[in-house]
């Protein structure tokens, strides 16, 4: 392959490097294959509907991508999603007339940031491993969601609230536009903002980051607060779509979100990952779910396929390394043979 000469050319070529963008290739292949089997799949209305569906998981996955690049997990987001959606549905009728719709969303996002900060404080302040701290908080948030709702599903039919997730702009679901906007924000944050560089540095090596003068504690607080914000936005949009909140919502949500991030190729070792690839993975999973329906895949087989896809995605990194090793060895052997 010829190396591009200009910096811009290199950047474009890096962005288009198929090895880094294989999730897009998988998405395109899946889409083309299912469309060939059932042309209705490719109808614009169905494509837009899939893109809309992808947002509810994808938005939360943006926060989780940052968290995993940072080198941690947040297992509390499913329960946090339930708590924040119950809280937003409970408070909305009181808050919205006073602060307006935008103000209401900001307050819920801040509440998410607050809960995230609490998670971060447990990890950074009390030195509890993130896995354990957020596992504990998962139960706390779930209990709080049931307490706040009295164990009852909460319903909210106000037009302004339903318009958050159910509207569209020139046919494109608003939730997808929000998702795209947040993906751009997340990408800029990760690659252009000092916080993003700190997140990657800590994810690569906390020791080296500390030596470079980065405050790991403050970065931890910021990362978990961000996870809280993205979870809050996903929670409000889900509540709007579902016309209410349920304290039992979001069980296994955290696992599905982590799976999305992994499918997008973000390394579980931390330090490396891409928000855009995560977003593409969210669209890929939504496409897969929709194709199950179009291809009438047996419901039991669906679970096996989703699991198989994740295992396959996860094993690719290892297999690719093996193949490259094998190639190198063979080149070496050829060289030796020709000498």
């Amino acid at each position: 392959m010829n190396e591009p000469r200009t910096a811009f050319g290199r950047r474009v070529s890096a962005a288009l490097d198929w090895r880094e963008r294989s999730v897009f290739a998988a998405l395109a292949l899946l889409f083309l294959a299912v469309s060939a089997a059932n042309p209705r799949f490719a109808a614009l209305s169905n494509v837009l509907s899939i893109l809309g569906d992808s947002a509810y998981i994808g938005i939360a996955a943006i926060g989780m991508t940052l968290c995993i690049i940072f080198g941690a997990f947040d297992l509390s987001i499913g329960a946090l999603l339930a708590l924040l959606s119950v809280a937003s549905v409970t408070w909305a009728p009181h808050l919205q007339p006073v602060v307006g719709t935008a103000g209401f969303v900001i307050i819920v996002a801040l509440a998410g940031a607050g809960c995230g900060l609490l998670n971060g404080a447990l990890v950074a302040g009390l030195r509890i491993p993130a896995f354990i701290a957020t596992l504990g908080m998962m139960y706390v948030y779930r209990g709080a969601a049931f307490m706040l709702s009295g164990g009852q599903d909460q319903r909210l039919d106000s037009a302004w609230f339903l318009s958050l997730a159910n509207g569209d702009l020139a046919g494109v679901p608003v939730v997808f536009l929000v998702f795209v906007g947040l993906t751009v924000l997340g990408t800029l944050l990760l690659n252009r903002h000092p916080l993003g560089r700190r997140i990657q540095a800590v994810g690569n090596s906390p020791k080296a980051a500390r030596a470079a003068g980065i405050s790991v504690s403050r970065t931890t607080l910021a990362v978990f607060a961000l996870v809280g914000v993205f979870t809050a936005i996903a929670g409000v949009l889900q509540a709007s779509l579902l016309r209410g909140a349920q304290p039992g919502r979001g069980v296994e949500f955290e696992l599905y979100v982590i799976a999305t991030v992994v499918l997008g190729g973000t390394s579980l070792d931390g330090g490396k990952g891409s928000v855009i690839n995560t977003a593409a993975a969210a669209v890929l999973l939504a496409t897969l779910q929709c194709s199950f329906s179009f291809l009438a895949v047996n419901p039991y087989v669906q679970k096996i396929i989703v699991g198989g896809v994740l295992v396959a995605a996860f094993s690719m990194n290892y297999l690719r390394g093996q193949v490259e090793d094998w190639r190198k060895r063979r080149q070496q052997q050829r060289k030796e043979a020709s000498v």
């Binding site: 090895r19 290739a25 509907s49 579902l242 329906s293 895949v297 419901p299 396929i305 396959a312 690719m316």
Partner: protein, 315 residues
């Protein structure tokens, strides 16, 4: 290279398994889409079987979607059934409150929506099928009258589901109506929140306050099993008739063992068949016969199960 191969493998896997479904239908054939609550439960497996078989008998194509107990999947799955060009939608919803977005999408596509069980969430659905809960409660009451004769003021009790279970609550109402009109006194109506442990605890309280109780009706079987345990511990199994609702496996075993007297069976497969027939009528623009016109409700038959007809409880 490997990743692309992996992606190809995934696509191949999806396409290969697509053959598992049997939805191959001719292009002119109208398709009925059914979004089911969760295929891991036997109740809904039977409902799905009835829906699928009747839809095919009536000459329709059939497309299934499994909500897997997830309300997000309910909404996205129903929308994808509509996008596939389904001529009508049948839903047994995990969360009736979340049906709004589904019914909106169906209205936009101008296709009818039939709800099977659970609830309609106040949406403008075309029809909802539910078991004849009030009638089932009356069946339970009639059983007590057949066994014990007229009441002469004798005492019975009712253990209720949570107040939000609006259809289950009708079971107790049916039982109460038949009991009071036959001279029995309903001394206690307590919520045991559908749970076995609470059924046991509440029944102990009732027995302590009313030692001469002759029957207890529980709005579901888990509570009845708990209540039967309390009755047995008090040594009153011969004196108190314990009756449940739903013909759960554990209730059938209790009836066989003699600790419970009876239960009321629902027939999900039959409910599925009814849903396909209603959909057929809606697509042919024929009028429906509602059991409750204001709520567009259609009742599915239920049956009293005792030691004499245990085998008929099979769904």
């Amino acid at each position: 290279m490997m990743k692309t191969t992996g992606a190809l493998a995934i696509v191949a896997l999806v396409l290969a398994t697509a053959g598992c479904g049997d939805s191959k239908s001719s292009s002119q054939q109208q398709i009925i889409g059914f979004s089911v609550y969760d295929m891991k439960y036997e109740f809904f497996q039977m409902m799905e079987k009835g829906t699928r078989e009747r839809a095919k008998e009536l000459g329709y194509g059939y497309q299934l979607h499994d909500q897997k107990s997830d309300e997000l999947q309910m909404v996205s799955g129903c929308k994808s059934l509509i996008n596939q060009g389904a001529a009508a939608l049948i839903v047994s919803p995990i969360k009736p409150d979340a049906l709004g977005a589904v019914v909106d999408a169906a209205q936009k596509a101008e296709i009818p929506v039939v709800i099977n069980d659970i609830g309609g969430g106040g949406t403008p659905y075309h029809a909802i099928i539910i078991s004849d809960n009030f009638g089932g409660g009356k069946l339970a009451g009639q059983y007590v009258v057949d066994k014990l004769g007229v009441g002469n003021g004798r005492n019975v009790a009712i253990l209720k589901c949570e107040p939000s279970a609006i259809y289950a609550i009708r079971r107790g109402e049916g039982f109460k109506a038949l009991m009071t009109s036959n001279g029995y006194t309903v001394v206690a109506e307590l919520s045991a929140h559908s749970k076995t442990e609470e059924g046991y605890a509440k029944m102990k309280n009732v027995l302590a306050g009313t030692p001469d109780l002759v029957a207890v009706f529980c709005e579901n079987d888990p509570m009845a099993v708990g209540a039967a345990q309390a009755v047995a511990e008090a040594g009153k199994t011969a004196q108190v008739l314990v009756i449940g609702f739903n013909a759960d496996g554990v209730a059938i075993e209790s009836i066989r063992a003699g600790t419970m007297a009876a239960t009321v069976a629902q027939f999900p497969e039959q409910m599925g068949r009814i849903s396909a027939e209603l959909t057929d009528k809606l697509l042919k623009k024929q009028p429906l016969q509602f059991d409750d016109v204001s709520q567009r409700e259609i009742f599915a038959p239920v049956k009293l199960i005792t030691q004499e007809n245990l085998s008929e409880a099979s769904k």
